[in-house]
Symmetry: C2
DNA sequence: GGGTCGATTGACTGGTCAGTCAGCCGCTGG
DNA sequence: CCAGCGGCTGACTGACCAGTCAATCGACCC
């Protein structure tokens, strides 16, 4: 009973799924691909997960909850609205830098595929937009941001700009060197904020 | 020989495909769904198209070439860089306003799905980014835009912000009234340009 | 009428996979 | 040594569907 398996097979399956989904895309990967990549029997995937969908769900929820937490934490710092947005941008870009495959899967298969998968997670995704919108709204309240831009609108544009950058890296439309990650964080914020701040 | 069919079945199939793809997503629609929606026999789809994929390809190419043309035309007007970007934003938003279903299909199934379908069309998609980047670069040349932002970078952010807005409308994350379309065009440009223009 | 040819039809086939399940393996406790 | 049990295995099945194709239709021409 008190048997701690030397390797966590469940984790192993999830990690393998990240690699395979990133390489082939969700629709094109067979459950057997995941099992093979994980070095595990086909059936074991179904021991730990109800379905192939649930594997992707798990990956998304795991990561997205971190994003939501990061946004909330940025908000609670009490720094300037601009610094809060910078923290959010930084978290997202760092997430990509740290684990490009996972972010690729989340963006390509969930966030930007709201038709199939995203549908299930739309509520979570929306929550991120709203939290960012709150940062903007507070900034307007405090006079740091112009008031003629709808906060939700600004939030969507901000997030969209960042996601598009990640997409550019993912699909190699733009080169992604270490330097460009750091640069990107700053530039997104500069572009958006200098458009938001009065004058 | 000089037989003009009273109804263009090919067109009928394409239009039906737009509706069905928009409703169910590409992967979830069967070829028989398209045929049924078009009021046409299953086999006829294969008379006009080599495969289900080719139907989507056709829809994308048809529309995207208009976008590329619109960007080039905006560029040739010789107006201010800001006005050029406004024209581009306007065209994209109007495209959505005029035919939301088609734009939904293009964005969700091609543009944001660069893993599966987009891969084939990455070159076309990239071309749009580059044309926009050229507008930015010319603006920098002319001193209308700040020079410390990479044009490609600005282009991606600009396009990303717009696409995210469309996504918001598509998935009803943000409400899409007639007024909000007009407002959106302006706000995107305002946000981006006031961040790009020096001071 | 008969011939031709493209448009149109829809039953059928072949291949693919997600998910099931019957049972094995190896540990632990009695 | 046996029983029990959870982790683990992988062959198998049932459903689904893209794409094929042989046959029919109907315009037009001779």
């Amino acid at each position: 009973m008190a048997k701690a398996p030397p390797v966590d097979k469940r984790r192993q399956i999830l990690d393998a799924a990240i690699r395979v989904f990133a390489r082939q895309g969700f629709h094109a990967t067979r459950v057997s691909d995941i099992a093979d990549e994980a070095g595990v029997a086909y059936g074991l995937v179904y021991h730990y997960f109800k379905s192939k969908d649930e594997v992707l769900d798990e990956l998304f929820v795991e990561r997205w909850s971190l994003l939501l937490a990061a946004i909330d934490e940025a908000d609670r710092t009490g720094e300037s609205p601009r610094a809060k947005l910078a923290a959010v941008a930084s978290f997202i870009v760092d997430s990509y830098h740290h684990d490009p495959e996972l972010m690729k899967v989340i963006i390509v298969e969930v966030t930007r595929a709201a038709n199939s998968f995203g549908r299930t997670h739309l509520e979570q995704i929306r929550r991120a937009y709203e939290s960012i919108a709150k940062i903007v709204a507070d900034g307007q309240e405090a006079g740091a941001f112009r008031r003629d831009v709808d906060p939700t609108f600004a939030s969507m544009s901000f997030y969209g700009a960042i996601e598009q950058l990640l997409s550019g890296w993912i699909f190699e439309v733009i080169p992604g060197s270490d330097g460009s990650f750091e640069q990107a964080k700053e530039l997104v914020v500069t572009m958006i904020c200098d458009g938001l701040e009065p004058r």
